[in-house]
Symmetry: C2
Subunit: 368 residues, 2 copies
């Protein structure tokens, strides 16, 4: 069996496995699940651009979910923006899911601000600052609940696309990957143009010192690694993927945060890895300040796909800046774009997706 890979999907690593994955899901309706959470880590100055200021990052995941459901936010005015006013990548996800009529579900791994939408509740808690070395409570309980939800969703889904919204999430991803023994230094992405890699390294090192656990213990136990240095999203997304990928394909939709999710999946149940791919944006795979492909290759033979989005022709500054390396990914923007292209038989491509994104951008941003 062989199918035509849509023109705006790039196979970035493990190309044969990537083609096989695409063959299993092309033409099918996916179930998109966005896992949301908060971590106090986002409030460390300089860590996150997922909010106009550190305190408002608490509202970003809730606002993103409202955007996906209603086409506008309810818990805040306008949409989440970076400190310089660039809008959330949720606009991309909203446009892709709307064009394709993809079903959308939300899973709350632990947020401080609840979205005004229905969501799967796992009874997890928001995450603490990872510098404490005690970042997440009851990781295994959250994981187990997410596994059950993943199994149930898999029974009625062709495949799952798992996205995330959690401000500060690349720093916690760095923490988990490091705790699990992967070489993540200089390889973690950032929502900013100038990747604050040294700041993140200091944060992770402080957390490692404070967690009171040895390298060898952390390395063997993904739940301990998340409890020490992770965030609630990572453990819920990993559980969801483990539960679902037993029976249906799973596309992890995100950048280096999804590498951290993958590292937890591998540590908990490596038998599902051959049913998993990672889908992101071109801006992530071309980013010179991070290295998603290398991170994934350290973890497992899992293909990386990228949506070949290009905003350089856009007449809107807030979209143009994606080409300069701001934002890049989030809310499963890349993976949901890939899934929309795959389910539409070529009808949705990077060009008309940009048209839809610009339409929503004008409606949501320019008029504020």
């Amino acid at each position: 069996m062989s199918c035509k890979i849509p023109e705006n999907i790039k196979l970035c690593s493990e190309e044969d496995l990537g083609k096989e994955f695409i063959e299993r899901v092309i033409g099918k309706t996916p179930t998109y699940v966005c896992v949301i959470g908060n971590t106090e880590t986002a409030k460390i100055p300089g860590v996150s651009a997922a909010g106009a200021n550190p305190d408002i990052t608490d509202t970003t995941p809730a606002a993103d979910m409202e955007l996906l459901h209603y086409g506008r936010c309810k818990c805040i005015e306008g949409v989440p923006v970076t400190p310089t006013g660039v809008p959330t990548p949720g606009i991309i996800t909203m446009s892709a899911t709307k064009m394709s009529k993809m079903p959308i579900f939300v899973m709350n791994a632990g947020v401080k601000v609840k979205p005004h939408v229905p969501y799967f509740e796992l009874d997890g808690s928001p995450g603490e600052d990872i510098r404490t070395g005690k970042a997440v409570k009851n990781a295994e309980r959250t994981f187990d609940r997410a596994v059950l939800a993943g199994k149930a969703l898999a029974k009625i889904s062709n495949y799952l696309v798992i996205g995330e919204s959690i401000a500060g999430g690349t720093t916690t991803a760095y923490g988990v990957l490091t705790a699990l023994g992967y070489d993540a230094k200089g390889k973690i992405s950032s929502s900013m143009i100038d990747n604050p890699a040294a700041l993140k390294e200091n944060i992770v090192q402080e957390g490692l010192r404070n967690c009171g656990l040895s390298e060898s213990i952390l390395k063997k136990d993904p739940m301990m690694a998340v409890e020490a240095l992770g965030d609630p999203m990572i453990v819920a997304a990993a559980g969801l993927a483990v539960g679902a990928a037993e029976s249906v394909p799973v596309l992890l939709a995100g950048g280096t945060q999804m590498a951290a999710v993958l590292s937890v999946i591998k540590g908990m149940d490596d038998s599902v890895l051959d049913n998993i791919a990672l889908g992101t944006t071109r801006w992530i795979v071309e980013d010179k300040s991070s290295d998603l492909i290398d991170l994934v290759s350290q973890i497992a033979k899992v293909p990386v796909l990228a949506a070949d989005l290009n905003f350089s022709t856009s007449k809107y500054d807030g979209l143009n800046v994606y080409e300069k390396g701001l934002v890049k990914e989030g809310v499963g923007a890349g993976g949901s774009s890939i899934a929309a292209m795959l389910m539409s038989d070529g009808k949705i491509n990077a060009r008309n997706l940009l048209d839809e994104i610009e339409k929503n951008y004008v409606r949501l941003v320019s008029r504020r």
Copy 2:
């Protein structure tokens, strides 16, 4: 098109519509959603048998959901029982969903005790005693959220089976049906052998006096009727059905409580009624102290189906008593049995379902 109706499913009213409904769903995997809630009404002495004593009825819905997910309860020892020790009808649902491998989802409309399982959260509140005339807060918000969840589930479901677990729910059903102008007197079922109809009538009348709303206002506004005299389950189940039945069939799984849900559906969006059926047990349709068929016929041309379960041959007292009119229905026992029979191509019938129920009964009850 014509299909063979499984032998243990009875067409109890609107037979032609019932056959058409069955033809649309036979052989297909349903999505079972159990809507849970609490109402303080359950604690009025003599109202509910869904718990060994009034106070413990708070835990019954959570315990039922754990039973469906794990085959045992977590928040209580053993399983929920009536004051005389008869186990929850959740054992029937658990047996039907297990035999058929039906996917199970939980929707929290407003509980005091959260189940140890993943669930859809609508951010509703537990219900108050309906004698206050102020039974439910923010009914419309809960309804709207449930509509969104129903739309999303419908996109990935062949059809929905909607069950409930809420102690005291027949009394609140009586309240809503009365508020909406239906003649429910002497027609509401009970989990007890001696239906406390006079007690329920007094409770409803007290609520009507205290709600401060006229008959004509209540009759026109299902959300006001639920806020005055209902419970959170009714409004969430109605929203879920309205959202889903736009595009897929919906089987309301329950007795007279589902008649109340149907009355709210009709008041909110009567365009979906032709995609709805009600599925219950033989014990409900044969009950002489209530009249489900008449209630449904007052509301809409919606077929009533019944699972022809028969526990008279069972050697276990706790199952035998169903034939005497105790428990009768709950946790979508009848509807999930019907759905299991419909999806199994005749493999699941009343006989082998009883075998499975007895197996689970012995494991869960006899050994306590």
